[in-house]
């Protein structure tokens, strides 16, 4: 018995998506290495081309060499680890990071293909009927924490364990601002489906990054933390934790960890683009109606991919621009800055959406639209300045001056000259 048509279509999509993502992850490693090199005034990998020839292709063969090398390496399992969890951790992490993409659209949709029996538009999304797309994404990105935590715990290594703990604390803390940033979008779009959120932005022509600047910034920062990218890469801070939760891993298991880390970044980029940067929409290029021709479908796919690539490049550029946060600063930022700002954004969006009909009757269509954008921007600036002035995230690094005379010599950070004066 042949599988039904929707099953075949879904399988084809899964194949394309997983293949595309894995290739993309491999090549993003190359892009990351290039960016790292260029920022440091180096040239980066530019030698490996087609194997067994002297053709170099600017180093485009590098991912193949990297992958082969790490696969062929010894897959060493230390004696002291919890064997089951040790093997399960990278699998859980990779499975979760891949399954997230079931609910993430990777284009607009395809025009009907009557020859294959597809009479309607075929959305470029593995699970098009899923009404809880955003919830799915969030649930699975929380499961990814388990992978990290399991890896750290099973390694039976203090660095791995510390990395896992840090990671879980960080990911739990930043889920909240992430969710708050997202809730504003869900409120405005009125749907938990990611493709519906894109359609809402396309039909109004106002991307949510412009309509909800505060939510955008909060979500952007939180997604850096969720992806454990550099200003927030405490789970694997090399200088402190050797390798963090994957210290004890090698060979293909390490590869799985690294790939899922890259997939996290790709997921974050997808979410940022889909929810705040209009998805496949670009004014005057893509249109906003249903997809009738293959050209439109292709253009929309290209626009979405280009935006995602741009966001990923931004991720990589930020990596070399900012030093890592200290752990207390990280937590302060999450709980004392991002959480209030996220709440402020949510309230603003809720108020704007609630009073939109009244605004339209009072000001007319055009002015109501302007006001619906101006108010969130005002809240954005006010909130940002308030956060700056109150500096709840700032920490006092000055040494303690109140040490008594007896312990003065021994207290770390006491100021001896104060005591000399006394």
């Amino acid at each position: 018995m042949l599988p039904s048509l929707p099953t075949i279509v879904a399988l084809v999509k899964i194949g394309l998506l997983v293949g595309g993502l894995m290739t993309a992850a491999a090549y993003l490693v190359l892009v990351e290495r290039w960016m790292a090199a260029w920022v440091q005034d180096r040239k980066g990998p530019n030698r490996v081309g087609i194997p067994l020839t002297k053709i170099r292709l600017f180093g485009l063969g590098q991912p193949l060499a990297d992958g082969l090398k790490i696969i062929l390496k010894e897959d060493f399992t230390p004696k002291h680890v919890d064997k089951v969890l040790y093997v399960a951790a990278p699998l859980v992490l990779l499975a979760a990071s891949l399954a997230i993409f079931a609910a993430i659209p990777f284009g607009s949709s395809l025009p009907p293909i009557p020859a294959l029996g597809l009479t309607g538009e075929e959305p470029l999304l593995v699970a098009p009927g899923l009404d809880v797309g955003v919830l799915w994404v969030f649930a699975l990105s929380s499961i990814a924490v388990y992978g990290v935590l399991l890896g750290g715990w099973a390694s039976n290594n203090k660095y791995g364990f510390l990395g896992g703990l840090r990671s879980s604390a960080q990911l739990v803390a930043y889920e909240i601002p992430l969710g708050l940033g997202l809730l504003g979008v869900v409120l405005a779009a009125g749907s938990l489906k990611l493709d519906a959120i894109m359609n809402a932005q396309a039909s109004s022509g106002v991307w949510y990054a412009f309509a909800q600047p505060l939510g955008f910034v909060v979500f952007l920062i939180a997604s850096f933390a969720e992806a454990a990218r550099l200003p927030f890469d405490l789970p694997e801070a090399e200088q402190e934790l050797v390798g963090g939760y994957h210290t004890e891993y090698s060979g293909i298991k390490l590869l799985l960890f690294l790939v899922s880390e890259f997939l996290h970044m790709v997921t974050a980029a997808f979410l940022i683009v889909i929810m705040f940067l209009g998805g496949w929409h670009l004014w005057g290029v893509t249109g906003s109606g249903p997809v009738e021709t293959w050209l439109v479908a292709l253009i929309r796919f290209a626009v979405l991919s280009a935006k995602i690539f741009g966001v990923i490049l931004f991720f990589m550029l930020v990596r070399w621009s900012w030093p890592r946060f200290r752990f207390d600063q990280l937590m302060n930022l999450a709980w004392k800055v991002m959480l209030p700002l996220g709440l402020a954004n949510l309230v603003t969006v809720a108020a704007v959406e609630e009073f939109r009909p009244q605004l339209v009757t009072a000001l007319g269509e055009g002015w109501a639209k302007a006001a619906a954008i101006a108010v969130p921007w005002a809240v954005f600036f006010l909130g940002w300045i308030a956060a700056g002035l109150l500096t709840p995230s700032g920490t006092d690094n000055t040494p303690i001056r109140t040490a008594g005379p007896l312990d003065a010599e021994h207290v770390l950070g006491s100021r001896p000259h104060d005591l000399v004066e006394a």
């Binding site: 960016m35 090199a37 260029w38 920022v39 440091q40 005034d41 180096r42 040239k43 530019n46 550029l317 930020v318 070399w320 621009s321 900012w322 940002w384 300045i385 700056g388 002035l389 500096t391 700032g394 690094n397 000055t398 010599e409 100021r415 001896p416 000259h417 005591l419 000399v420």
Partner: protein, 177 residues
């Protein structure tokens, strides 16, 4: 020095200004620095195709060579000063009576173990007849340890190879001809 030493000046950390508290100006300046470096000229030398520039070949301490005198004979007089000066003991000379009338001895064999050499340049300093010199050749490779022990012929051939690019210092500069 104890922390309570009165000669230590303790500096106060400057309080953060508004721009610093708002993070954004710092963020932009950091990002623009990285962006500038992203497109700036690269310092990498693509080695085998592109040779690194040696600052001053006259004082660079690379592979050794044994100089020839104007008649093409080895200049060395087998005085052993270089072997004595060498801190790594990598020079091995066997002296013999010179077949030429203008000197008493000449090196029958002259070996330098390039793997042992620390390229300090003491042999060059010690040589009274400026026979041994360090060239600016910097990529010294070999496939075996034996290959890296340079004999007299090899050292003379290094001279033949590099004499045009790096001529011997002339007598006018106080060197032996």
């Amino acid at each position: 020095m104890k922390p309570s030493d009165p000669s230590i000046t303790w500096l106060e950390e400057k309080p953060l200004g508004l721009a610093e508290r708002l993070y954004l100006p710092l963020f932009v300046s950091g990002l623009s620095t990285t962006a500038r470096h992203l497109v700036s000229p690269k310092v990498t030398v693509s080695f085998p195709e592109q040779r690194p520039k040696v600052g001053n070949p006259l004082i660079y301490r690379g592979v050794h060579r044994l100089n020839r005198d104007p008649e093409g004979r080895v200049k060395c007089v087998a005085c052993f000063l270089c072997a004595t000066a060498c801190p790594a003991h990598c020079i091995d000379i066997v002296a013999a009576e010179s077949p030429w009338p203008d000197r008493e001895k000449y090196p029958e064999s002259f070996h330098i173990d390039e793997l042992r050499c620390i390229f300090c340049g003491m042999c060059e300093e010690a040589c009274p007849v400026d026979a041994i010199e360090l060239t600016s050749l910097l990529d010294l490779t070999g496939k075996s340890r034996e290959e890296m022990i340079f004999d007299k012929e090899k050292l003379l051939s290094v001279y033949d190879m590099t004499k045009d690019a790096e001529p011997m210092k002339s007598a006018s500069m106080g060197c032996t001809p």
